[in-house]
Symmetry: C2
Subunit: 246 residues, 2 copies
DNA sequence: CGATCACTTGAGATTCGTCAACAATTGTGG
DNA sequence: CCACAATTGTTGACGAATCTCAAGTGATCG
């Protein structure tokens, strides 16, 4: 959540204490919240890997986003009556629950947190848009490369990818559900990525062996992640405007 | 913008006067704002049809969303440094520009407007997610049916579709760019939709002839649009919480 | 040690894309 | 109002990407 702008020390401690108060451990493949449900609290992934998904009439599952540690899951139930999709874990995960009233209070009194939440929502949108391009205009090979590279970047941004190595506990079926391809085809494309020396996947442990090559295979351009002002740069105009706003 | 909750009369008048003050007419296929740009104002489509799109390296265009009258185009430049995609018109359109400071002021002092903007952003997200499913798991026929049905619903929600008839001034190429298909294939699928008596397209004027059939062809489930509490129902818990919030 | 789940491989079917030609419509200048 | 150009829509033949089905290998776990 600090990728848009660093929090004041006070806010960081406050958030840490909030996430420590109500935690729950989920097994792999458990639901955190289901389509149609409303929740009085919002959830934040602390460790593990989760995803937004939807079950379709024909029984297939579409994964619409991966959620890495630090990602808020369901800030939207706050405004909308119910979830229009489900959140489920892919690996054993630790998830914090923050009561709605507390979030209200944060939005009211902690502009840095409000800004971070807003930024997170906008980043989500950017990622979704990119995934549409991905699905619509790239072939299976690029699509898979894109997905892997994006997950890698996002994990690295939260300090979970050292030296191009990271845990990515998904099955080839999960990747199929996320890309809209079949497991069989995912398998073949993974082989190609491996043969070409771009990645290495040993069990759930992945390694990016040729980041530039992978990026190229994915036709990746990063500006949809809006990471570029992640640090202590002087605030932008908009940032300044909003700082005292909420 | 009132689909989530009606505005107080005062707010409505305020917004109307704001949109009247700075309007600009665009021809078909003009850009309102381009990828990479930052704008000191946000734009709202008043009439016509616009879209969010992105040009890819290979020269193709991906349309990620249609913007119908009432839709805010670029509320995000408010927070993010620059647009990660472009907004362009598809037909001659009237677009209002509202200066950033005014928006700041609205967010501060007009909870109903703040809520509407937030809701609009969340609805956008839902639509994007649905489009991912669309691209990933539906065949060309359903994809096209889905797109048409969704546009119809959104136009109807803003009073621009009487009796299943509405203006939808797009070429088959535009539809191809929006669905990730080729114009040729769009043509064939449109023929099929016509043959089956689901739709009628005479020039830019479209008619839904069999809404239920189209809905079925599209595998459409509407909850991602979150229209269900469009009217003067008692406020939800979240709505009440937020009312005094921003 | 057997069962289950994930992964791998091959062959054939299907959807959709590509290319190329042509028809219909719209727009434009004379 | 006409003639022509440009854009949009339509059609067919063919090829490529991806899916489906089916079988088999390999790991993991009780």
């Amino acid at each position: 959540m600090e990728q848009f702008r660093r929090f004041p020390e006070e806010d960081r401690r406050l958030l840490e204490s909030l996430t420590e108060r109500r935690q729950r451990h989920y097994e792999a493949r458990e639901d955190v919240i289901r389509e149609g449900e409303h929740s009085p609290e919002i959830h934040i992934v602390l460790s593990g890997l989760a995803c937004r998904y939807k079950l379709l009439e024909n029984g297939t599952r579409q994964i619409m986003a991966f959620l890495v540690p630090g990602d808020p899951c369901d800030a939207e139930v706050f405004i909308l009556k119910q979830m229009d999709h489900s959140i489920g874990t892919l690996s054993p995960s630790l998830v914090a629950a923050i009561p709605g009233e507390v979030v209200t209070d944060l939005l009211l009194n902690r502009p840095s947190v409000a800004l971070a939440l807003w930024w997170s929502a906008l980043q989500d949108e950017g990622i979704l848009r990119e995934r549409i391009i991905d699905a619509g205009r790239r072939d299976a090979y690029s699509r898979l490369a894109f997905l892997i590279y994006e997950v890698f970047l996002r994990l690295r941004a939260v300090g979970l990818a050292e030296d191009g190595r990271f845990d990515f506990p998904v099955t080839q079926s999960d990747l199929a559900d996320a890309t809209g391809l079949t497991p069989v085809h995912i398998n073949r494309m993974l082989q190609r990525l491996r043969e070409e020396g771009l990645i290495l996947a040993e069990g759930r442990r992945w390694t990016i062996r040729d980041a530039a090559g992978l990026r190229q295979a994915a036709h990746f351009t990063a500006n949809h992640l809006h990471y570029d002002r992640a640090h202590d740069e002087p605030d932008s105009e908009a940032g300044r405007r909003l700082k005292g706003l909420i």
